[in-house]
């Protein structure tokens, strides 16, 4: 069993082509229509941030829960978590367009509105950038420690490293809850500074885990089919499918809870946000979101057989990644206004995201063992039965 193999030449080439094409499209977008490009950039940034953050969460979850089944495929999740290093770069152009994005950056508008003036200490540009930097420093710090321990174990086979990671995971969980909430509050909720929803952090978290899990599922199945992870069985795939199915339901539960509470209370300062997404064509996007993000994956993954079917799982992981992108688009773009923006930017920008993920993946695959050979749980993970 080859522990270390490069991705095929054509995949690496495709990754770089997509990356360069994406960068060109981004540049063109910012030159032609900076405001629209910035809003699309927020969608893309939140998307890749959720894949990266969610991947660290999945690593921590495995250690904390003492999961055995996911050990043989943990490396795929670790490779995805490496995106944490590059995702902040995606936000750099945004920092120069904060005025286009955020109403609260306009001092005179804030001074005129009592509600915004009250939020001014939090919605402050310096503090905003500090929070952004802090979130990614923390994520990178934990990513670095998790992966350092995990790769060190390949050669030392020291079971104490697993114990260290379990402790680290226990610390990471509450930290992740706070940082993921900060991320979505800062980048999505503050687009409408008058609006607030206390559940939005959980809402983004549910999408985050889904995005990371489907990206990991797709990568794992591809690795398996091409002989990188030959020892996986139906039992492993079933576990991935079951987790996907669970989080599909979790997302629907949280999304509906958010809607129900705001609908019930019927306060104008909260309902306008949903009303905005229920007029001028956005109602079709909202319905589409429910169908794409819940109804279709729910029925596609309902039966036991479909959760073991690698073809179905591959299709559904790509589907759910698209659904998460649509979710973020629905979250961010109504603030941009001007109907439902859909053009080359909306189609073109995700190319960069795919390219970036593939480049990072091929880079990490080249330099790491595909299987955590030193993990004390590996043996049990490989012989995992349902």
């Amino acid at each position: 069993m080859g522990l270390r193999r490069e991705l095929p030449e054509r995949v690496t080439r495709l990754a770089w082509i997509l990356l360069i094409l994406g960068v060109v499209l981004y540049g063109a977008g910012y030159l032609l229509d900076a405001k629209r490009a910035a809003f699309n950039n927020v969608v893309g940034f939140l998307f890749l941030a959720s894949v990266a953050g969610g991947a660290i969460f999945l690593i921590a979850l495995e250690y904390l829960a003492g999961a055995v089944w996911s050990v043989p495929m943990r490396r795929a999740t670790e490779f995805l978590a490496a995106l944490t290093l590059v995702v902040p770069l995606l936000a750099v152009p945004l920092l120069f367009h904060l005025h286009d994005l955020f109403h609260w950056t306009h001092g005179e508008a804030v001074a005129a509105e009592k509600v915004l003036a009250g939020k001014a200490p939090y919605l402050d540009i310096d503090f905003f950038i500090i929070r952004f930097a802090a979130v990614f420093l923390v994520w990178n710090f934990f990513y670095f420690l998790f992966v350092r321990n995990s790769t060190k174990q390949d050669s030392t086979r020291d079971p104490k490293l697993t114990t260290n990671n379990v402790r680290l995971a226990a610390v990471f969980m509450p930290v992740f809850a706070i940082t993921v909430t900060l991320t979505v509050v800062d980048w999505a909720m503050s687009l409408e500074p008058n609006w607030y929803s206390t559940i939005l952090g959980v809402y983004y978290f549910s999408g985050t885990v889904l995005a990371a899990l489907s990206a990991a599922t797709y990568a794992i199945i591809k690795f398996h089919e091409n002989g990188y992870l030959p020892n996986l069985r139906r039992d492993h795939f079933y576990s991935l499918g079951a987790l996907l199915f669970a989080f599909i339901n979790f997302w629907a539960y949280i999304a509906f809870s958010q809607f129900l509470l705001i609908w019930y209370a019927n306060l104008p300062e909260e309902t306008f946000w949903f009303i905005k997404r229920w007029k001028e064509g956005w109602e079709y996007v909202s319905i589409l979101l429910i169908i794409v993000h819940f109804v279709v994956p729910y029925f596609a993954l309902l039966t036991q057989d479909s959760k073991m079917d690698t073809k179905r799982l591959k299709l559904m992981s790509i589907w759910i990644l698209f659904a998460h992108l649509l979710d973020l688009y629905w979250l961010v773009m109504p603030t941009y206004g001007e109907g439902i923006p859909f053009g080359w930017m909306e189609i073109g920008f995700p190319i960069l995201l795919v390219g970036l993920a593939l480049v990072v993946l091929s880079y990490k695959v080249k330099r790491n063992n595909m299987i955590p050979v030193g993990d004390p749980k590996l043996e049990r993970g490989l012989s995992f039965h349902l």
Binding site: Y264, N266, Q304, H385
Partner: protein, 379 residues
């Protein structure tokens, strides 16, 4: 001693691998009526025994759908037919409010009824007689051994052959299990009159006890904790009075404290002439008046009494309080309008106390003065 029937031939194995192998061999040899008993669930056993996927999921689906439809149907009937009630200004049939309840009913019906189905259909509740019960074989397989039993009703059953087969695949302590037909046949069945009778008696006893506890015991000393007292509560009947009504009307020709009738009902001019404001225009009075004015008057008359509230155009427009007519009214006239109502404005006597009404009058005077300031006020 009753007649003994052969139930099955059993064999014991030492490890889970051996029992999985034995199950594979048994299904390969074509046996269909056999079962495996292990101290804990063994992975891969369903495949080794060639079991078909359980159909219990179908029951769960049916009961779940039953839950959705009964919950939504019941709530629809309640909100549309039985007791339509406007809640929060929303339509009678507000489906988002139904979702959590429909979800809960779905979960509870699907889970509870599926478990009941499993117990009745698969475990043949309430029949708890099984030939394997209380046998040495059962004692071993619930402790440290793994057992297989091939049953006598298998179409390929042949005692000698099976003993040989079990020996070949490594089984130990191969032994037959007999059962007492008498005992087995007379095991409990679901529609056994005796069982149903016991069930009915239990239900009756439990309901009767619940009834007695909640309706009698809890009203006895010392369980009542003084909740039952020898006094009349509102709306209660009383045998003390001839008409049997507990609540008494006031004695004719008397007035209850604080309920002095308004003397100028329908007589605004007299009210203006004879009523004088008992309150002085002090800071406390004006602040009280302002607070009451903002609560009760401003929704129609506007924050400054200009008649420019957001209700403009939805009603006959409320008048301004700065017209010459109102400014020249004596205090009693304004007080009268609040007490008795005027045109479309209803009486506010029940919402605003007497003193508060006079305080509002003082505050309206301040508003009028502020809107029509004279040169001399600036000095």
């Amino acid at each position: 001693m009753n007649e003994q029937h052969l139930f099955a031939i059993t064999a014991l194995f030492d490890t889970p691998e051996e029992i999985v192998h034995a199950a594979q061999e048994a299904s390969k040899a074509g046996y269909t009526r056999f079962d495996v008993n292990t101290p804990y669930p063994v992975h891969g056993m369903d495949k080794a025994m060639r079991l078909k996927p359980s159909r219990i999921g179908v029951f769960a689906l049916v009961f779940g759908l039953l839950g959705v439809f009964s919950a939504v149907g019941f709530m629809t009937w309640v909100t549309l037919v039985n007791y339509p009630l406007v809640i929060g200004g929303k339509p009678f049939w507000s489906w988002p409010a139904f979702v959590p309840i429909a979800f809960e009913v779905t979960v509870i019906l699907a889970s509870v009824l599926t478990v009941v189905t499993m117990i009745v259909l698969y475990f043949r509740f309430p029949n708890n007689a099984h030939p394997l019960h209380d046998t040495p074989y059962m004692k071993r397989v619930s402790s440290d051994k793994f057992g297989i039993n091939i049953q006598a009703d298998d179409p390929k059953f042949d005692e000698k052959e099976i003993r040989a087969f079990l020996g070949r695949i490594g089984g130990k302590e191969i032994s037959p299990i007999y059962f007492d037909a008498e005992e087995f046949e007379h095991g409990q069945k679901l529609f056994d009159p005796k069982f149903l009778g016991v069930l009915a008696v239990t239900a009756l006893v439990v309901s009767a006890m619940t009834y007695v506890v909640f309706n009698k015991v809890l009203y006895m000393e010392p369980f009542s904790w003084m909740s039952a007292q020898e006094k009349l509560k509102a709306q209660q009947p009383s045998e003390l009075f001839k008409d049997g009504i507990g609540m008494r009307p006031p004695v004719e020709g008397t007035v209850a404290r604080g309920f002095l009738p308004y003397a100028f009902k329908g007589k605004p001019d007299e009210a203006g002439r004879f009523l004088a404001n008992p309150l002085l225009s002090t800071k406390e009075v004006l602040e009280r008046g302002k607070s009451r004015y903002m609560t009760f008057c401003s929704p129609c008359h506007g924050n400054f009494g200009r008649g420019d509230s957001r209700l403009q155009g939805q009603f006959p427009n409320p008048p301004t309080l700065h017209s010459d007519k109102v400014r020249n009214w004596p205090d009693g006239n304004i007080y009268h309008v609040m007490t008795d109502g005027q045109n479309i404005m209803p009486s506010y006597a029940t919402q605003i106390s007497k003193d508060d009404r006079w305080a509002i009058v003082q505050y309206i005077r301040v508003l009028q003065r502020a809107q029509n300031a004279k040169e001399s006020d600036l000095k």
